[in-house]
């Protein structure tokens, strides 16, 4: 038997319009923590999904315990001893912690020929597991009563309870506080001491350097290399991740903020655990960042401003005029546009063409004879957008779902530019986009700000905000905990404000 518990060799995977994985390899030793690094869109999650049976690889081999295996689906992966804690949780909120942990493989007992679920054993085992890991929940608690970070810990328990030999942690700390991260690291050490192999995906350099034994770096779906974690530096990793000098990560600043024009006052959600008493103001031509951990309610606040979510109080003024916004239609009429966080679910119309995707928000602006669409005018706008934002597509008639993430995002930006908004709110504008396209999006943001538009960028990637914003507002647990600018715009300060109300 080889020294590796898992070897992935020359894995390839394509999606329409993108080669997501191009001959990627990974080797994991038992008892080791192997970190997988790369920018968003580098293919880390795709690789792991191929391992976990969510995607089928196009080419390549997976050798597990010295034998080549084919993993057909997640259930098969779990049976083989491979568990994955997903970046996006899939909780069943209305059921207990124990039922979530044992979902699909409930312990059973037999009454003669009849098999029933052994609830007693399930709850006892779960409680023991929770206690062992030092988590202070009851096995009978409904999962929905926990916070996002607590759910993430439960998800990790699930992986452990499956007696997995390999555990994949996909950005497990994105919504955890420092204390919870320490807890997680203890758990990971317990696992490795039992001989488990852990594949750890994260963007946080300090964590990676602290916990890993080896580091594999990927970029744009390609395998860059594997190094022992000892002796690696942050600069080295970043240089490998982006594949060029650090200086070109962000375009030079071109905008100069003017006077304050956009003011949001006293926004409080109709929900108890959402945003509260939020007030802030943004200048003309300013790029205003909004930082915070997952669950800080940034998206919720932005969507409430845009009229998508309910609020008990709150006013929006632009240029001294109070705006009455009850639904997105009102927001758009008042010159506010929102690019949503989840591009696939709430941004693109997958089956429609690029043309339709661009024109959808401004159909009533292109009419002739009062009721008829002026297709010629629309096509001109679309052609101009494709040129200006360099959208890569065979034709404007192409269905948008066949484009890469970056090009889809550019189409959505074009949709709003056609409306010429005064205020453009962008929620995670570069999520799941490759490095090159990110740079282009930053340039577009800068150009728009230079033209005098007010831009609000919500992002979970602190370096990105620091790289492009004039000021950054930080939120924690639904409240605004501070606004940083100048030399205060650094990760330590933002992190401190992001965790202000967390223990």
């Amino acid at each position: 038997m080889s020294e590796y518990i898992l070897e992935m060799k020359d894995i390839c995977k394509s999606f329409p319009g993108v080669k997501a994985l191009d001959h990627v390899s990974l080797q994991l030793k038992p008892g080791h923590v192997h970190s997988l690094m790369g920018e968003n869109g580098a293919g880390k999650s795709t690789l792991m999904k191929c391992l976990f049976g969510i995607y089928k690889k196009d080419e390549g081999q997976i050798i597990y315990n010295g034998e080549e295996v084919t993993i057909t689906d997640p259930f098969d992966a779990l049976n083989k001893g491979i568990a994955m804690v997903h970046q996006e949780l899939m909780p069943i909120r209305e059921r207990s912690i124990a039922e979530n942990i044992y979902c699909g493989r409930y312990p059973t007992k037999s009454y003669g020929p009849v098999k029933v679920i052994d609830h007693k054993k399930m709850y006892e085992d779960t409680q023991k597991l929770l206690d062992d890991l030092g988590l202070n929940f009851k096995a009978t608690d409904k999962l929905g009563t926990l916070s996002t970070s607590q759910m993430q810990l439960v998800e990790i328990c699930k992986a452990i309870s499956a007696n997995a030999k390999i555990i994949i942690l996909d950005e497990p700390t994105s919504s955890l506080t420092q204390k919870e991260v320490d807890k997680l690291f203890e758990i990971v050490k317990q696992l490795t001491s039992r001989g488990c192999g852990v594949i750890y995906i994260s963007h946080k350099m300090d964590e990676i350097l602290k916990i890993s034994d080896e580091v594999t770096i990927m970029r744009d779906g390609q395998y860059i290399g594997t190094w022992p974690a000892k002796g690696l530096t942050t600069d080295f990793i970043i240089a490998k991740e982006v594949g060029r000098e650090l200086t070109d990560l962000y375009p030079p600043k071109v905008n100069t903020p003017g006077e304050t024009v956009f003011e949001v006052k006293d926004f409080t959600s109709i929900l108890d655990n959402s945003f509260k008493d939020c007030s802030f103001s943004v200048k003309r031509g300013e790029i205003y960042g909004v930082a915070g951990l997952v669950g800080a309610q940034r998206t919720e606040l932005m969507e409430a401003i845009y009229g998508l979510r309910g609020k008990v109080s709150g006013t929006v003024t632009f240029d001294g005029k109070q705006l009455d916004i009850k639904c997105p239609e009102d927001a758009i009429k008042n010159g506010i546009a929102l690019i949503t966080e989840d591009r696939r679910a709430r941004g693109i119309f997958g089956v429609l063409s690029i043309t339709d995707n661009v024109a959808v928000a401004s159909l009533n602006d292109y009419l002739k004879y009062r009721i008829m669409l002026d297709h010629k005018a629309i096509n001109e706008v679309v052609d101009r957008s494709i040129g200006e934002l360099s959208i890569k597509t065979p034709s404007p008639k192409e269905q948008i779902k066949n484009l890469s993430g970056g090009n889809q995002q550019k189409v959505i930006i074009s949709r709003w530019l056609a409306k010429e908004p005064d205020v453009l709110i962008m929620d995670e504008p570069t999520r799941g986009i490759d490095v090159g396209a990110k740079y282009e999006i930053y340039s577009i943001i800068g150009r728009l700000a230079k033209e005098g538009k007010t831009i609000i960028v919500v992002s979970s990637e602190m370096p990105e905000l620091i790289g492009i914003c004039d000021r950054i507002m930080v939120m924690c647990e639904g409240r605004i905990t501070g606004v940083v600018e100048g030399k205060d715009m650094n990760q330590e300060k933002i992190m401190e404000l992001s965790t202000k109300f967390r223990s």
Partner: protein, 337 residues
């Protein structure tokens, strides 16, 4: 597969066959049946086919807008039936003994048609739309409730009695041909006008683009400033007015109506739409495709009659066609992994 040919790569005979399977199948089967029984290609039969298809097509067009927006309307058939009954009661001969309104002169048939269309849009259509969009009742359930309500109303309105004695002007119109061209029934002319109007609405107005957008992704449509509530209500109102028109046409064609008129027609309309490319996942569907889907169904029915297949078997075949067509449609949308 269609992309290959679009991108100008070499013409692929296999993909051509797959993409046009429906038309090819229908033509082939029609030739087969025609060889068995030459009367299949007779003038009378083709005219009959067109007349049948005309009514069904109007119902299918009505329901298509609702389907494209990912909703449904199970009350369609009953609406057609009630509209047919109302039209009939207003167009009975004075000398007919069982006249529902004995002292009322029959009204102008076109006025009746327009009043019923407007009336249905403002009552049943509006209520359906409000229930689905404002009360958030799933369309399947909401429109099913409406189905039984409308049936109840039809029973009360007609006293559960058939309504006959229609004025000849009305029934002769339905039996007649356009400019005396034997092949083109008057009913088909109405349907052709409706098709042009709907094609224009779907392809050349903001309403149409918004409709496809909502069907493609309702959440994204809302973010894009489309008032989904208003659009949903509009789709049900347009549907109701077309069901009313279909009722008017069907009453004239049948020469008499009853509360059971057009019972279950919504399922044929939904099936026709789906076979014709209106995706059950919303967002796609063309007027030409819907015509194809409805035609396939009608031709299939007539073919089976001509082959002398027992009615019981025709139901079984129709059911299989519906399931297979939708299974094929769904295949396109199941995420490839």
């Amino acid at each position: 597969m269609s992309e290959k040919t679009k991108n100008g790569k070499k013409f692929d005979i296999a993909s051509f066959l797959v993409n046009n399977a429906l038309i090819i199948l229908i033509i082939a089967s029609a030739i087969f049946v025609g060889l068995q029984n030459p009367r299949f290609f007779s003038m009378a039969n083709i005219k009959n086919l067109l007349a049948n298809t005309s009514v069904r097509m109007v119902i299918a067009l009505g329901i298509s807008g609702v389907l494209i927006m990912r909703n449904n309307d199970l009350s369609a058939g009953r609406q057609v039936g009630l509209a047919g009954c109302i039209c009939a009661t207003l167009l009975q001969r004075m000398d007919y003994s069982g006249k529902v309104y004995p002292n009322m002169e029959p009204m102008n048939m076109w006025l009746v048609c327009i009043l019923v269309m407007i009336g249905f849009a403002l009552t049943i259509g509006l209520i359906n739309g409000l229930v689905v969009s404002k009360l958030h009742v799933p369309a399947f359930i909401g429109s099913y409730g409406m189905q039984t309500i409308v049936y109840g109303i039809a029973l009360i309105y007609t006293g559960a009695q058939p309504i006959g004695g229609l004025i000849p002007e009305y029934t002769n119109w339905a039996a007649g041909s356009f400019l005396n061209i034997q092949l083109i029934p008057n009913l088909a002319v109405v349907t052709a006008v409706v098709m042009v109007v709907m094609w224009f609405l779907y392809n050349h107005t903001p309403y149409g683009k918004k409709m496809y957008a909502i069907g493609g992704n309702p959440d994204a449509a809302e973010v894009s400033g489309i008032n989904t509530t208003r659009m949903t209500i509009a789709s049900y109102m347009i549907a109701a007015s077309l069901f009313a028109l279909a009722g008017f046409m069907l009453g004239a064609k049948a020469g008499g109506t009853s509360s059971n008129l057009a019972n279950g027609y919504e399922l044929f309309a939904i099936a026709g739409c789906t076979i014709g490319g209106v995706s059950v996942n919303g967002g796609t569907g063309k007027v030409s495709g819907i015509l194809m889907g409805v035609l396939v169904f009608e031709i299939l029915k007539i073919e089976m009659t001509f082959l002398g297949i027992d009615t019981a078997w025709t139901y079984i075949v129709q059911g299989i066609v519906i399931v297979v067509a939708i299974a094929l449609d769904i295949r396109k949308y199941i995420a490839k992994r």
